[in-house]
């Protein structure tokens, strides 16, 4: 369980990144923080592993204030995935995956074997273990990033726009893969994105942010789509746009769902 207790981040320049933000993220669930750039979503994420220290307020993990923890130990206990993987270019794929166990002093062949298993878990051929990140495609690098985040078996995964740099098809593939992994592993995941579709697809709980880390609305994807809190949210989720105002038309014996422009989206069963 992750709790934000009225945290703020004000930079010395006076810029307010986050103001009085409170949120409870239950264990074993996926919470997506979604908003345009500059809404403070990445700042919030980085507060969880102390890459950013709040100017005021507290962040608690399982009811313990993380400010009291050792920052390095804390980071090693939390999986972190960032855009384009954030892999170390001078380390082989396997060495990248087992980074955290090795930092913790576990260097043996068991760790290496576990690393190869993780590659398989994220859908990669263990044969690529000896390659370097530059030799992999963006999608593959991203999977390696996920494998690295899982290597020390953390309870929490922080994901900072992890699929932002890959093309839409691969992105969809990675999203599906993450959902599959999550049903298998049941981690507490905080996922930052600016893509509302991605937020809805992955989040058990979705938090729509406006600038300054103010919560415009939080709830399940269904709640937000069916009852947007205000015009900001409905604009953001595109509820009033053609893309989400759907209706059904029946032709011969099939019911087809079309959007406001009349473009068919799928068949209703």
């Amino acid at each position: 369980m992750i709790e934000f207790e009225s945290v703020s981040k004000i930079y010395p320049s006076g810029a307010i990144a986050v103001e009085e933000f409170s949120l409870l993220i239950p264990s074993h669930s996926v919470c997506t923080l979604v908003g345009s750039s500059g809404c403070g979503k990445t700042t919030l994420l980085r507060m969880v592993n102390r890459m950013v220290t709040p100017s005021s307020g507290r962040v608690l993990i399982d009811s313990e204030d993380i400010a009291a923890a050792d920052a390095v130990e804390l980071r090693r206990s939390i999986g972190y995935v960032l855009q384009s993987g954030g892999l170390l270019p001078h380390r082989t794929i396997l060495d990248n995956v087992i980074t955290v166990p090795v930092l913790k002093g576990r260097k043996g062949s068991a760790t290496r074997a576990h690393g190869l298993e993780l590659l398989e878990l994220v859908g990669l051929d263990p044969a690529i273990a000896t390659r370097y990140p530059a030799q992999l495609s963006g999608g593959q690098q991203q999977r390696v990033g996920v494998a690295r985040a899982l290597a020390a078996d953390p309870n929490i995964l922080l994901m900072d726009e992890p699929f932002g740099a890959v093309d839409p098809i691969i992105r969809r593939e990675l999203q599906t893969e993450l959902t599959r992994l999550q049903t298998e592993l049941g981690k507490t995941i905080v996922f930052v994105t600016h893509d509302i579709d991605e937020a809805f697809r992955l989040g058990d709980q979705v938090v729509v942010l406006r600038s300054g880390g103010h919560i415009a609305q939080q709830g399940t994807p269904e709640e937000i789509t069916s009852a947007p809190a205000d015009s900001f949210v409905s604009d953001f989720v595109g509820a009033d746009l053609g893309g989400r105002r759907l209706h059904a038309i029946t032709e011969s014996d099939r019911t087809v769902i079309v959007d406001a422009d009349g473009k068919p989206l799928g068949v209703l069963r």
């Binding site: 390095v72 980071r75 090693r76 972190y80 954030g86 170390l88 930092l103 000896t130 370097y132 030799q135």
Partner: protein
Amino acid sequence: MTWVLNNLDQIRTLLAAHLLLCLPPIVVSLLAALPIGVLTARRPGIGRFVRTASSTLYAVPALPLLIAIPLLFGFPLRSTATVITALSIYGVALMVGSTADAFSSVDPMIRQAAVAVGYSRTALFWAVDLPLAGPVLLAGLRVVAVSTVSLVTIGALIGVSGLGTLLTDGFQRGILAEVLTGIAATVVVAVVIDGLLLAIGRLLMPWTLKDVAR
């Protein structure tokens, strides 16, 4: 060629002396420039001063430096220590800039990612900064190495033997073959040391190779 064959022993002795004079400054340059360069890269304020100071130092002409060093450090004028110190000063002056560039060249995103997954400060330096600065460090060190090998020849001017002795001696006695041998031998030493550094770099930094086993 006959001159070379008749004087092989002398050439061999001078070559050994040359290597003994040029290797210590190369090593000293790398080791001394590392901390200064890291500091220069991290603190832009200090950095500007250090860069100006080091390029000024490099601009000091060699002969006055060779005379000033014995006075400053109390070495005898015609000693290897004088030559090694002078070349170390040049080497460090040259290497500080490259080292600062090398550490500035490390992608801040990669450093941040490393911190975020749990690298401590020391682990970050040894396992991330240093290896990633490696290619630029190596490029700088190769320049220092080649420049040091050729600069050692001026030691002959103050009577410290090395391959430069072939030049001074050849000029004085008017033996063209000796002068040419001195030049050729110096170039060969420089090329060999450069090649060795390149090979060591490939060995230590396999990720920089274009055709890493696919």
